[in-house]
């Protein structure tokens, strides 16, 4: 075990690891567990984990990206779904954002409530905890929940663990219309800046999810709306229903909206603390 863990966290020598493991007594370990702390950070310590439990140390995070989605501005055009497909080139059955609709009884017009639903990049993402290989994790710099396609074994436990249906499995299917010799099919997805060809394994056989288009960030991790480096769904939204920004910046649009309006988050009772808020 010690040897295997070493290969994950190069800076740790075997002795360090053993000391860290046994230096903390079993009691401390149990307390850490009970407090929702990350035992894995003791054992595997991948550098990019920052799923800080509530009440723990303050976030050492530069950005806290999130969205505020105004359902009253949403007309249900689904341009966000299409924009996301075009940006991330997701295959059939995989959609990083969907628009669900719910009819409302006794409403004066027939308009249902539309809700566009990307990944919420939760503060306490249950999907991250259940991953047996730490292939999905919360980035330290900006809190985005991402997937390491090369480590993911495709067990799909995270899909069951996500309360919001934000994850989907890539079965290796392709759109018949573009799978052939179209130029579009030849362009790889820019996801994670990795430009993987679908014919070469991953992400086929992996779980996939919304990344807030993080491949559009600059080297410091900043987006730029004016330059078009902005999550595709928010950029394209015809009714300006999707607000995107950094909750760590008190002057950002999203911070102001959360501060001045009465947003709700889905399934608060699960303690996941989503970073996507809805205005009803």
């Amino acid at each position: 075990m010690a040897v295997d863990a070493e290969s994950v966290s190069p800076p740790l020598t075997r002795r360090d690891l053993v000391q860290r493991l046994f230096g903390v007594g079993a009691g401390a370990l149990a307390t850490a567990l009970a407090a929702g702390g990350s035992v894995s950070s003791l054992v595997t310590a991948p550098p990019a984990r920052a799923a800080t439990p509530p009440g723990a140390l303050p976030l050492k995070r530069k950005f806290r990206y999130g969205m505020v989605i105004d359902t009253r501005r949403c007309v249900g055009c689904r341009a966000c779904v299409v924009a996301c497909k075009a940006e991330n080139k997701t295959p059939p059955g995989v959609s990083y954002t969907v628009v669900v609709e719910e009819a409302v009884a006794n409403r004066f017009d027939d308009k249902p409530i539309f809700m566009t639903k990307p990944c919420f990049h939760c503060e306490n993402p249950p999907c991250v905890d259940v991953c047996p290989v730490s292939a999905t994790f919360k980035r330290e710099r900006d809190g985005l929940v991402v997937i390491d396609y090369d480590r993911c074994i495709g067990c799909r436990y995270c899909i069951t663990g996500c309360p919001y249906g934000a994850r989907s499995f890539d079965f290796g299917e392709n759109y018949a219309a573009v799978a052939g010799a179209t130029a579009y099919a030849a362009v790889p997805s820019p996801e994670y800046g990795q430009f993987r060809a679908r014919s070469e394994g991953s992400p086929v056989g992996n779980v996939r999810k919304c990344t807030f288009c993080l491949h559009l960030q600059d080297a410091e991790g900043r987006y730029d709306k004016a330059a078009g480096r902005w999550p595709a769904c928010a950029k394209t939204c015809t009714g300006h229903a999707i607000f995107f920004g950094d909750f760590n910046d008190p002057e950002s649009e999203v911070s102001k909206l959360v501060r001045e309006r009465q947003p709700v988050r889905l399934k608060e009772e699960l303690g996941t603390e989503p970073n996507v808020h809805y205005l009803l």
Partner: protein, 432 residues
């Protein structure tokens, strides 16, 4: 003649299922998951259900073997080795099933190398890897002396024994008592390991707060209990058919039947408690999965397969005077063991088939985003293949494993004296 016909049927079905399974494996290996019917909503299907089914059988039969090797229950002494053998075979089948389910089969080793111990799945895999090693070593020590003795016989069997003996030649009674000590230690370590890993399989589902159908403190306990029931039921069947066992092991089969009956009733009590509390509470999310189980498109799996064939009929068979006939008892065991596949499917599928966000499965049209799940042909074929392989392995074991009475004598222990008396003919042969 009749027994020979049954034996032929057993081998034939094993071979046919195994061959049919090759098609499923080919499809899985060549085309990945394209031809599987699970999606991103019901994301686990038949293979996961088969996995928890087989692994339950394994944990159950191992825990029953521990009655012999840890708790010294003389009653089941004759099936101790058979129980460990069953545990090895079913664990192997479980691992095959879940291996096929992985998106990247070649990355299975990642769980050992990059384990995230906050995940119950990582715990489970580490524990069952340890358990697998432990089981194989324990079985080897249980068989060692017979392998050494059998190595002298000419022909294929002798050659196989020579290979399996791994060079061991010691056949003295001191080596036998050493073997017993080793087995005792291994079996004692195995008990908490088996409880932890199978409780861990239950926890794997139980911890998922996103799926109210699974999210219950009862789950790990229910898994352990149902492992004991299904494992015991399978052992009843195996004991009865293995090496003509229902004639020779009548008392053991009957005793197993009574134990399984008790465990099954306890399991029913726990399940009923879970259902009653959920229905009284009436929280829609909690009820959704249960309503799907009982009144969904596959209601018959619960009412017909699981409850009628898997519970009611065997309970009657084990309670009525049929309980004194090993053939009826093993039939009841077969029904229970088969019924539990229904239980497993009804854990996995309805838990996932309830939409997490209303409207999610209709938000866009895709067969991967639907709450409706029926295993595809290739999923069935692969599972048939796993079952067929299991039958073949049991057949191989039947041929290779030393007969019970011989085993007792070879052990050189007085414990089996009573049984030896019953089988005087074979015993004389060995003692001579």
């Amino acid at each position: 003649m009749k027994a020979k016909g049954l034996k032929l049927l057993f081998w034939a079905s094993g071979v046919v299922l195994f061959l049919v399974g090759i098609a499923g494996w080919y499809d899985r290996l060549a085309y990945g998951h394209v031809n599987a019917n699970y999606g991103s909503v019901v994301t686990w299907g038949l293979w996961v259900a088969a996995y928890i089914y087989f692994i339950g059988l394994s944990a159950g039969s191992f825990l029953i073997s521990s009655l012999v090797y840890v708790f010294n229950v003389k009653r089941f002494e004759r099936i101790g080795r058979l129980a460990v053998f069953t545990a090895v075979v079913t664990l192997f089948l479980a691992l095959l099933s879940i291996w096929a389910d992985l998106g990247h089969m070649t990355r299975a080793w990642h769980v050992l190398a990059y384990a995230n111990f906050k995940s119950p799945m990582a715990w489970m895999i580490w524990l069952y890897s340890a358990y697998f090693v432990l089981l194989v070593v324990e079985l080897w020590f249980l068989l060692r002396r017979d392998l050494v003795a059998g190595a002298a016989t000419p022909g294929v069997k002798g050659a196989v024994y020579r290979v399996l003996a791994l060079g061991s030649r010691e056949a003295s009674s001191s080596s036998a008592s050493r073997d017993r000590r080793v087995v005792r230690v291994l079996a004692t370590i195995g008990v908490p390991v088996a409880i932890m890993f199978h409780g861990g399989v239950g926890a794997l589902f139980g911890v998922v707060a996103a799926r109210p159908h699974w999210h219950s403190g009862m789950f790990p306990i229910l898994f352990l209990l149902s492992a004991l029931v299904s494992g015991g039921a399978l052992l009843t069947v195996v004991t009865a058919i293995f090496q003509d066992g229902w004639r020779r092991n009548r008392d053991t089969v009957l005793a197993l039947g009574q134990m399984v009956l008790g465990l099954l009733l306890l399991d029913v009590l726990f399940q009923a408690s879970e259902l009653l509390v959920a229905f009284y509470g009436g929280i829609p999310g909690h009820l959704e999965g249960l309503k799907l189980t009982m009144g969904g498109p596959f209601w018959w799996v619960f009412w017909g397969w699981q409850l009628l064939l898997g519970t009611l009929v065997p309970v009657l068979l084990l309670a009525l005077p049929t309980r004194r006939d090993p053939r009826w008892v093993s039939a009841a065991g077969l029904l229970i063991a088969a019924g539990f596949l229904g239980v497993r499917l009804n854990i996995v599928v309805p838990g996932l088939a309830a939409e997490e966000i209303r409207g999610l499965s209709t938000a866009f049209a895709s067969a991967r985003m639907t709450t409706h799940y029926v295993p595809s042909a290739s999923e069935w074929l692969l599972t048939f293949g796993v079952v067929g392989l299991g039958l073949l392995l049991f057949g191989l074991g039947e041929w290779l494993m030393p007969k019970e009475t011989e085993m007792g004598t070879a052990g050189g222990d007085g414990d089996l004296g009573a049984f030896r008396g019953l089988e005087s003919k074979e015993v004389d042969h060995v003692r001579a």
